[in-house]
Symmetry: C2
């Protein structure tokens, strides 16, 4: 029997777990004995268009340890892209190029690890494959810190970001409580359209600290009057208020709060402030107290040293599941996780049709947000808690975590 | 023999190691058998003026595990203050109050854990004690992420911050290299007047990544023309440039590159706002490429989960040493670390007179900065490396690190 090859690529923004999914694909594909070679396309779908591949079977055979290190390496070993495939009705030459390349490389399955935009690519390739009656299996593996993909209980990458956010919030609380002066600390968290990550800040609460005291998600229209009233009320009973706010909060008219305020710096440049900075200035204007804003920035998606072991395990298993699905003849689908039990927390891996997932977004349900629109409910924290559990065994050398060499990405 | 008591307090900004020094003081004081009670003054010297104490001997007896947890708890268990003692020639009533309280509480030794400003307090109390011929031992224990205290090889708290900065820089590098587009990423690092922390970013370099590609310390006058030339040259040979910059960079005239907003705190320090953001806008104006700035913010001083075990060990030992010194009759001194060997890295703990330390600052020597003023030398990284080694065993519960309950600080 003539063996075939398979190909995997990564797309969209980095997470702490996307390389764990890649490791899962490689591990399952190599150990299945079904594929001669697992190719990695560099920079997403662009690698196929540019003929830019890594031989991942070779990588594993050269260094059996590489899969172990890859599983806990941040960002994307294969690089990423933000390339959106054109509609094949408009321009099918790109599709012809891609499938000609698949044929030339004897590819029988293509795995794409990514978020909403990447699932659009999976959908389009799947439809084109069906149109030309290609036998190539096209499978999506979910990845996004935003947790906004439909059909799946949650997305790989989210749990690690949630753990980083909750732990950082707790540490910021310890940092904040030391001064016996009134203060407001605002922590700006990623998630332009979905508040899952900002909600995860609630996991920082414990027996001694109620921080964050206020939580604002993009799912609730943001009112500056209500916000100032909330802060004023909290300051009556507390010295130090800590607020978690999504970068994507918008007013009733749908305008981002982040762009409504501007200052200029030493060079006379107009500054476009983030949501956190904007609220910092707003509070400075209305209260004579110490105020600080903190933007967690890209570290919330790449701080692998604080990854969730549950997340890495699920990301790896999602990659393995995609290979199993391909071998079963499934295509035009994405791997999903279904939570079949809360106690004990139990997940099963299944496939869902890629239609209905691509270009859709799952936001926080209104009944998981409190009536005042400034906090989340106990249902939300119960949903979130299992996702941040466990700490991976990450080796350190010279005081720093050891990650897989990405020299091939550096130009 | 009538036993006496001792008192300990913390002051200044938080670090990941200041509670390890507190644990060292308590451990040595309790096990010496010399003191009836170890009191903790809350919010630095203010606790003495307000009669606000914790009984730390009681804490240890109630929960023997508390010292273990305290050693790796971030920020300051006793709370902090930014209170500057007046000159006793101007107003000695504060001093009379403090020493009357010491006498009332039968205090024979006072330990103050802090940075430059706190050592000013140690100096003034020491001079006053000498003036009134008080037998009370006054001892400083160094603490600052800035590493700018004189007489000591380095300061407890610095190593953990340096480790956090280097690890974050490495993770940001992984995050940055994934896109095959030209980009500049600026990481703003704390250190108003001394570049030690910014220099620590150089430890992120490894066999595959040269990031940060440019490093700007406050010790070198910052030229925007030279900066733009540096960036332009780097972009010729590389796609993704990562730059580490101190919050305190100033031009030839000594003006901060950051915002013109020049508020100052109780000690006359200018409040800084956004060197990284300012450079981000400068690059946007001159290059048509993707640019981002990241402010590591307070996490670099409170991210205990990534503390350096070497740092925690040395902080604890510094606390123990202060108690030993007090028992030997030493006063008006600060504990210092002297590096007696590089290979193997070996530190001894000694005492140095508090004069010559208080109100002095140790900046980065010019010969540890390269000639172009945009990087550090190999001597610098050799000095820094031992300080970030080792990872503490921090217990996790519900996915988050377990720290000591600071309910007494929360109002």
């Amino acid at each position: 029997m003539n063996k075939k090859n398979c190909m995997v690529a990564q797309s969209g923004g980095p997470t702490a777990a996307i390389n764990a999914s890649l490791a899962g694909v490689i591990s399952a594909a190599v150990s299945s004995g079904t594929y001669d070679t697992v190719y990695g396309s560099q920079n997403g779908i662009l690698g196929i268009l540019n003929g830019n591949y890594l031989n991942l079977t070779h990588m594993v055979k050269e260094d059996p340890c590489s899969l172990f290190v890859l599983r806990h390496s941040p960002a994307m070993y294969l690089g990423s892209c933000r390339y959106k495939l054109p509609d094949y009705a408009d321009a099918d030459d790109v599709y012809r190029d891609i499938f000609r390349e698949f044929e030339a490389m004897d590819i029988s399955a293509f795995f794409y690890i990514g978020g909403n935009d990447s699932m659009d690519t999976v959908l389009k390739l799947s439809e084109y494959a069906q149109r030309i009656q290609s036998p190539i299996r096209i499978l999506g593996i979910p990845k996004t810190i935003d947790n906004d993909l439909c059909a799946t209980d949650h997305t790989p990458g989210f749990g690690s970001a949630a753990k980083y956010i909750a732990a950082s919030l707790l540490e910021i609380a310890h940092d904040t409580y030391i001064y016996h002066v009134k203060s407001v600390t605002i922590v700006e968290i990623m998630g332009r359209d979905a508040g899952w990550l900002t909600a995860a800040s609630a996991l920082a609460r414990n027996s001694y600290s109620a921080a964050p005291h206020l939580i604002y998600l993009p799912e609730v229209p943001f009112s500056t009057d209500q916000f100032l009233a909330d802060v004023s009320r909290e300051l009556e009973s507390k010295d130090n208020i800590i607020i978690a706010v999504s970068e994507g909060i918008r007013d009733e008219q749908g305008h981002y709060i982040s762009s409504s305020n501007s200052q200029s710096d030493n060079f006379g440049h107009a500054k476009l402030n983030g949501a956190g900075k904007t609220l910092e200035y707003l509070i400075s204007e209305h209260f004579d107290i110490k105020v600080r804003s903190i933007e967690l920035n890209v570290l919330q998606r790449c701080a692998e040293h604080l990854a969730s072991e549950t997340d890495l395990k699920e990301a790896f298993a999602s990659g393995e599941k995609a290979v199993t699905l391909a071998l079963e003849g499934i295509s035009a689908s994405m791997v999903i996780m279904r939570r079949i039990s809360d106690a004990p927390y139990t997940i099963v891996y299944e496939a869902a049709p890629i239609q209905g997932i691509a270009n859709e977004a799952k936001t926080v349900p209104q009944n998981w947000i409190n009536d005042a629109g400034n906090d989340v409910t106990a249902e939300m924290t119960a949903y979130l808690l299992p996702l941040i559990l466990g700490e991976p065994e990450i080796p350190f050398k010279d005081g720093l975590p050891v990650y897989l060499d990405i020299n091939h990405l550096i130009r």
